[in-house]
Amino acid sequence: MSLSYLTPEFKVLRDYDKCINCKVCMRQCSFEVHSYDEHLDKMISNDMNCVNCQRCVVLCPTQALTIIKHPQTFKEHANWTYDAIRDIYRQAETGGVLLSSMGNDRPYPVYWDKMVINASQVTNPSIDPLREPMELRVYIGRKPDKIEIDENLNVKTKMPPQLKLETPIMFSAMSYGSISYNAHAALARAAEELGILYNTGEGGLHKDFRKYGKNTIVQVASGRFGVDREYLNTAAAIEIKIGQGAKPGIGGHLPGEKVSEDISATRMIPPGSDAISPAPHHDIYSIEDLAQLIYALKEATNYQKPVGVKIAAVNNVAAIASGIAKAGADYIAIDGFRGGTGAAPKRIRDNVGIPIEFAIAAVDARLRSEGIRHTISLVAAGSIRNSADIVKAIALGADAVYIGTAALIALGCHMCQKCYTGKCNWGIATQDPNLVKRLNPEIGYKRLVNLVQAWSHEIKEMLGGMGINDIESLKGNRLMLRGIGMTQKELDILGILAAGE
């Protein structure tokens, strides 16, 4: 079966008037698109291999390269689309599950873009954050109903442990394995500088990054990679990973060839062995099992660390979240169906789960109806693309958000969606030492800091526009949102009015 019916997805256009045969493109492309033809004395390209990561385009010193969508196409058909036909060719050739990376790229409605934000005029003055204080600090963790103090104003309430965030943004879980050492180094350092947290994902905590412990959330996933007492106690918080937005109900698999010595040490598994995270936790088959794990982790950390639970946004997410709250979790992270991933079965990624906008609104409403919303924190994840998405997520009921894909884009990711190949030309989703070196953590962390600071400035401006000077007053403040182009049912679930109402 050597014959392939696949045609190139992209076409590399080279301006030979500009090309100087410097071979940078050849050296930069891990997918081996470019080569030098000595006979012709010119660079040539193999379009078939191009994934449109644009590394060559960006680094070409003479800007000689352009990559376009390949003009070759199939006969137009509204049902049997280009992608549908290509996928059949791929599966007919390989007999395998189609893999893809990053988030769901199907054209589902983006509900963030169907919501608009309020601004004050006259009766309630807007606040200028350049002149007036604007507070973005949030605390993630379980909150008591009330404060208790004695007659001398000493606090008697025993406060559960809290995560302090200087801005309501955290870096999503991305494991060492799915992304590189240098990517983790950049995320950890940026989190420290920003006063926020990054998340190790399920791949363990590299010994070099233990110094960032107070800015680290460690995951306990079904694979239990790297989990020991030191791992738990080094971190600021522990997150039990039940589900992931890109692949709800699906486990994880890091192929053995990616399990280098360093990753093996971090994950505490033999080098070269497949790292399989089963779909369920081997010890969690019910909500009461989850409660036992939550308290086992709290015991192991002497009740000093918040324990959160991350789930994918699915149909009955509100009831599940209610159960998690009652099982003793300190926060719930909900990952929408556009959440990114290093590798997921494409059909799962593109068809399973629900948008984070609905999930957050439904969970917030459910927890409120039970009178427990104020006792637990809610983190929204799954394709937060800009500061306006964050404002909308918080107005729908989140306390903070996780950003994953956006952080990777800040590091240089060009969304070629080929993370699963391990050949990331940007040094992000790869373990190839030569590729990893391409991501300079010094530059990377500054870019992350810039991104989060820029978004924080924008959040302050939007808050000020609403006449709010503390992010706390935006939480669940759905009166600040209006919907455009939605059905009444959609508006009702989101709990917002239509524009003009």
Partner: protein, 374 residues
């Protein structure tokens, strides 16, 4: 056009408050004169007063002030009231016909105490029992509204300018030791009597100049504790937040003020270790109770009142003292109208409460000592 209560109406306003800290009773004419000075801060679509100490003969009874749209609403309400309370006196609230107050609903008051057997059956204290009664009437009986439910106090409000409202209710004939007043400037309202200030729950009454941009956050937070916000009005949530903090959670008034107008994080960072723990925890636990947006507000409670601004002072508030009298108002003119030579006049800073409580034995004065020459 939707009736207010079904739609949220932003508004500006005027406020005024007077207390005699010795508990001496004085006529409602003073507060009426004070608020009338700020006529232009109202637009005739709402005025109201809260008077404390006016019902000494019934001081142990809840004084329910009610608006009814019709006799059916009255009958339904009274059926529930009398099934749950022993009513010592029921009467029309005395009013006088004036040219400026129109379309008055049926206005009644009842002095009542919960029936012991009902109270026992409910397993609630009389305050919680009464809150449930108030929410039940306001939510479930169309055309009926409990607008005052405290003891030895009452709220009087209407659609009109505040001086006309005072005249309508004959406030000059009442004597109280503490008075609040409000003139309302809603931007767009069909004029609803229940939408006028003060807003009251049990002994807490609030008058408010401003608009809360945190309203929806506050409302949802309160609903988790069983409060039902039926009026879509900012001030309603302020009344309930103070009830939650003072009565249910037992916070001293100073700390309740530090919840609704919390110190900034950078101020907290500069505090002593003990204070830092207290204020950090207050902000963490009660972040959703922060009142955001512009406000100057007077909150009356059993022991006195507190006047407070939002923490960046987006609305006016002036305070003055003369002997045992404390005055607060949106404008200094409203104070000088009824207090010719105050000993001191000051403008409290954003978030700095002016607390004026009844003087008890060996109690030091608790109101703000920070004075700024006006």
């Amino acid at each position: 056009m939707l009736k207010e209560g079904y739609v949220r109406i932003p508004s500006g306003c005027a406020i005024s408050g007077i207390i005699d800290r010795t508990g001496r009773l004085f006529s409602g004419q003073s507060i009426a004169d004070s608020i009338a000075t700020m006529h232009d801060r109202s637009n005739g679509l709402g005025g109201g007063f809260a008077a404390y100490g006016i019902y000494p003969d019934f001081k142990d009874y809840f004084a329910f002030h009610m608006f009814y749209d019709d006799l059916i609403a009255k009958q339904e309400t009274e059926n529930i009231l009398k099934a749950n309370y022993i009513v010592a006196l029921e009467e029309k609230i005395p009013t006088r016909k004036t040219a400026h107050i129109k379309n008055a609903p049926l206005i009644y008051r009842y002095f009542a105490i919960p029936r012991p057997e009902k109270l026992k059956l409910s397993e609630l204290d009389e305050n919680e029992f009464t809150i449930k009664f108030v929410f039940n009437i306001n939510s479930n009986i169309p055309g009926a509204y409990v607008f005052s439910s405290g003891k030895n106090m009452g709220v009087f409000k209407a659609v009109g300018y505040p001086e006309d409202v005072a005249n309508f209710y004959k406030l000059e004939s009442y004597k109280g030791y503490m008075w609040l007043a409000h003139g309302r400037f809603p931007t767009n309202t069909p004029g609803w009597w229940g939408g006028a200030h003060p807003f009251n729950l049990l002994n807490i009454s609030v008058v408010h100049n401003g608009e809360l941009s945190s309203y929806d956050t506050n409302r949802k937070y309160l609903e988790e504790f069983g409060y039902i916000c039926t009026l879509q009005t900012d001030t309603e949530v302020a009344a309930y937040i103070f009830d939650l903090l003072l009565r249910r959670h037992g916070l001293p008034i100073e700390l309740a003020c530090k919840v609704v107008a919390s110190p900034l994080w950078k101020q907290v960072e500069r505090m002593s270790p003990k204070e830092k723990i207290l204020y950090t925890n207050l902000k963490i636990i009660y972040g959703r109770a922060l009142l955001n947006g512009p406000f100057s507000m007077i909150i009356a409670y059993e022991d006195g009142f507190v006047a407070i601004n939002d923490r960046i002072k987006l609305r006016p508030l002036t305070a003055a003292k003369k002997g045992d009298m404390i005055y607060v108002a949106s404008e200094e003119s409203a104070i000088r109208q009824v207090c010719k030579n105050p000993e001191s006049v000051w403008i409290p800073r954003g978030g700095e409460p002016v607390i004026a409580e009844l003087i008890r034995d060996n109690e030091k004065e608790m109101y703000s000592t920070k004075e700024v020459t006006a």
